[in-house]
Symmetry: C2
C-alpha cells in the first residue's frame, strides 16, 4: 500500500524523536512492502519563528492531504510565563485539533512488567493497569467564548457541549469497550455542571444500544483519587476536554512509563499520532530523549489509521525486545548502559 | 471564653463522627476553662427529608449567629445517578458556601510517619509531604450562569472570575506561605483559559508585596502529575474552584491518611471546619467510621477561628498518641484490634 504521512516534528526534542519513528516506520514499510511518502511541515514555536503562526495554512493543507499525521511535541519556555503573549505555540495545537476535527483523543495507560519499579505507586497498586481514556478534544471550555469585561477586571470562559458532540465521543467509547473488557466509565461533574448533566443523560440514553457494556458514572474528583489508589480497576474512560487534560496526565505518570506512552487523536477524516510527553526543551539536541513513545505512536498509526495490525505488532515486538535487552535511553537505564535517542531508533529499525 | 458553635452533622456517617468531635471539644473546653454551646442544625439529605431544602434558612441563621461551624458530611446515594433531580444535597453545600461567603477552602495534606505504609505511593515519594491547598470556593464555573439552549440539546456553564476574587484568595495564600516555607505555587491553565490568565497576572502583580515568597506558576495538568510523583516538593498551592476540587481530592489519597485529613473554609465573617472525606453511606450507623479527621477539624477550629493554638495542640497530641498506641478504627487497624468510632472518640476525650 501507499501512504502519505504528514510529519509535524515541532519543538524541543520533537524532531529527534520523530526521526526515530520515521526510521522504524520505513523499516516496517520495507518489510511489509508498503510505500511511505513523508511530508514534513512546520508547527509550534518553530512555525512561529519561520512564518509568525503556530499552525500555518500550508501545514494544514499538508495534513488534510495526508493519510495520517505523525506529530512530535510543541512548546517553548520563551512563551511559558507570559500570559499576555499574543501568539503561542499551544494555539497552534488547538487550531490544528479544531480544523482537522480531531474530536477524540485516545490515551492508553499500560504497564511494562520490566518497568513497574519506575512507577511512583507501590507495585501491588499499579500491576495489571491497562486503561484507555477517550478525551473529547474539540469542545468544552477550550473552545467556548472567552474574554474580559469591566476594563479587564473580570474574565470569563464559557464551557459548551451539544448532545451530538457527546454522542460521537461516547460512541467511540462504547465501541472501544466492546473490543476490551466491556467496562465503560463516564467521568463528569454532574452534581455541579449542566454540561456534565448533558453528558450523563446522553450516555445513559446510549446504554440500551450496547447492552453488553457495563457503564459506571463517576465524578471527576473521585476519579482523580481512584486513579492513584486502584488504577487497575479502570478499563475505558470517556470524558470532556478539560477533565481529560488533567486526568490523562495524572494517569500517564502512574505507570512509570511516561516516556513510552503513545496517543492518537481521531476525527471523521483525519487521524493524528503523537507521544504524550512534552517538548522537554532542556533536553533538546542532546540525543538523550526516549523515542519509544513516538515509535509506539507510529505503531498505533499502522493499527488504527491504516488498519494494519501486523505492522503495529512488529513495532511493539521490537520495543518489548529493546526493553528486555536494555537498549534504552538514560531515563530507563537505571544505572546500566544508556543508549542515545538515535541509537535506540537504529536498534529498533534493525529489529523490525 | 464562651463560644457558640453551629453543628451541622449532615448525612451518612456525619452524625457519628461529629459526635466524637463534640466530645473531644468539650473535653478541651473543660480543661482550658471555656464554655461551648452547641447549636445543631439540619443540612444535606437529612434537611431535604425534613423540610424539603438542603440548606434551609433556619440553618443559615444558626450559622450566621455562631462563632464557627463544625460540619460532618453530606450526600446520599439516592441522589447520585439522577442528573435531573431537582433538589440535591450538594446544592445545600454550594448555597451554604456562597451565603456564608466561605471563599477560601484550606486543605492540608500531611503524613503521619506511622501511616506511611498506607499510602499508595512508595515511601520515598510520600515521605515528608506537608502541603496546603487554598482552593477558591465561591466563584468560577461552580457559580457562573449555566443552563440549556436549543430545546435542551446544548448545555453551557460559564466560568467567571474578578480580579478582586483572585486577590483575596491569593492574599491568604501569600500570608500562609509567609508562616511556612515561603513557597507558593499558583495553579492555573493560563495557556488556554482567560480566567487563568487573570489569575496569573493578578498573582504576578502581588509578588512585589511579598518579596520573600518564591512564587511558581504551574499548569493544572502538570500539577496533577507532580502531585503523584513528588508531592513533597510542594508547600502552599492556590487555585480556582474546579481545579481545587480535583487536585485536593487527588492530594488527599496520596498521604494514605485520608481518614485523618481536616479542612477549613474561611470567609470574611464565617469559618467552617469539616473532614475532607465524604458521607460513606454504606458505613452509616455501623460505628466503624474513623472520627479523627473530624476531631482534627475541631483542632483547626480552635487554632484558626478562636486563635487558641494550645487547645488545638491538645487535640493533635491526643490523636498522635492514639495512633501510636493503636487506638484506631478498622481502616487503620492493619489486622490488629479495631476500635469503634465511639470508642476512639471516648479515648481521645479522656486523653485531652
Ligand atoms: C498544551 C495544551 C494546550 C494541551 C491541552 O491542554 O490540551 C496539552 O496539555 C495536552 O494535553 O495536549
Ligand atoms: C459535593 C461537591 C459539590 C463538592 C464540590 O465539588 O465542591 C465536593 O466534591 C467538595 O470538594 O467539597
Amino acid at each position: 500500500m501507499k501512504f502519505n504521512i504528514a510529519l509535524l516534528a515541532g519543538d524541543g526534542i520533537g524532531p529527534e524523536v520523530i526521526d526515530q519513528a520515521v526510521k522504524v516506520s520505513d523499516a516496517v514499510a520495507k518489510k511489509f512492502g508498503h510505500d511511505i511518502t513523508w511530508k514534513p511541515a512546520l508547527t509550534g514555536a518553530a512555525a512561529i519563528d519561520a512564518v509568525g503562526e503556530p499552525y500555518p495554512d500550508s501545514t494544514h493543507d499538508v495534513c488534510v492531504a495526508a493519510d495520517a499525521v505523525l506529530f512530535g511535541a510543541i512548546g517553548h519556555p520563551r512563551y511559558d510565563n507570559d500570559p499576555s503573549a499574543k501568539v503561542r505555540p499551544e494555539q497552534g495545537l488547538l487550531k490544528m485539533r479544531k480544523k482537522l476535527g480531531l474530536f477524540a483523543n485516545v490515551r492508553p495507560t499500560f504497564t511494562f512488567p520490566s518497568l513497574l519499579d519506575k512507577s511512583p505507586l507501590k507495585q501491588e497498586r499499579i500491576e495489571g493497569t491497562d486503561l484507555v481514556f477517550l478525551r473529547e478534544l474539540t469542545g468544552g471550555i477550550y473552545f467556548g467564548e472567552k474574554g474580559r469585561r469591566d476594563n479587564g477586571e473580570t474574565a470569563f470562559d464559557n464551557c459548551v457541549y451539544t448532545r451530538a458532540e457527546v454522542q460521537r465521543l461516547a460512541k467511540k467509547g462504547f465501541e472501544l469497550a466492546m473490543t476490551r473488557s466491556k467496562k465503560l466509565c463516564c467521568v463528569d461533574k454532574a452534581n455541579v455542571l449542566e454540561t456534565s448533566r448533558l453528558w450523563r443523560e446522553t450516555v445513559q440514553a446510549m446504554e440500551k444500544d450496547y447492552p453488553e457494556v457495563e457503564v459506571s458514572y463517576e465524578f471527576v474528583d473521585a476519579v482523580a483519587m481512584r486513579l492513584v489508589q486502584w488504577p487497575n480497576s479502570y478499563d475505558v474512560l470517556i470524558t470532556e476536554n478539560l477533565f481529560g487534560d488533567i486526568l490523562t496526565d495524572e494517569a500517564s505518570v502512574i505507570s512509570g512509563s511516561m516516556g513510552l506512552m503513545p496517543s492518537a487523536s481521531m476525527g471523521t477524516d483525519a487521524a493524528l499520532f503523537e507521544p504524550i510527553h512534552g517538548s522537554y526543551p532542556q533536553a533538546t539536541g542532546l540525543n538523550i530523549a526516549n523515542p519509544m513513545a513516538t515509535v509506539l505512536s507510529a505503531a498505533m498509526m499502522f493499527e488504527t489509521a491504516f488498519n494494519l495490525p501486523e505492522e503495529g505488532k512488529a513495532i511493539r515486538n521490537a520495543v518489548n525486545k529493546a526493553l528486555a535487552e536494555g537498549i534504552v535511553t538514560e531515563d530507563l537505564a537505571d544505572g546500566g548502559k544508556a543508549y542515545g535517542t538515535k541509537e535506540v531508533g537504529d536498534w529498533l529499525a534493525a529489529n523490525i
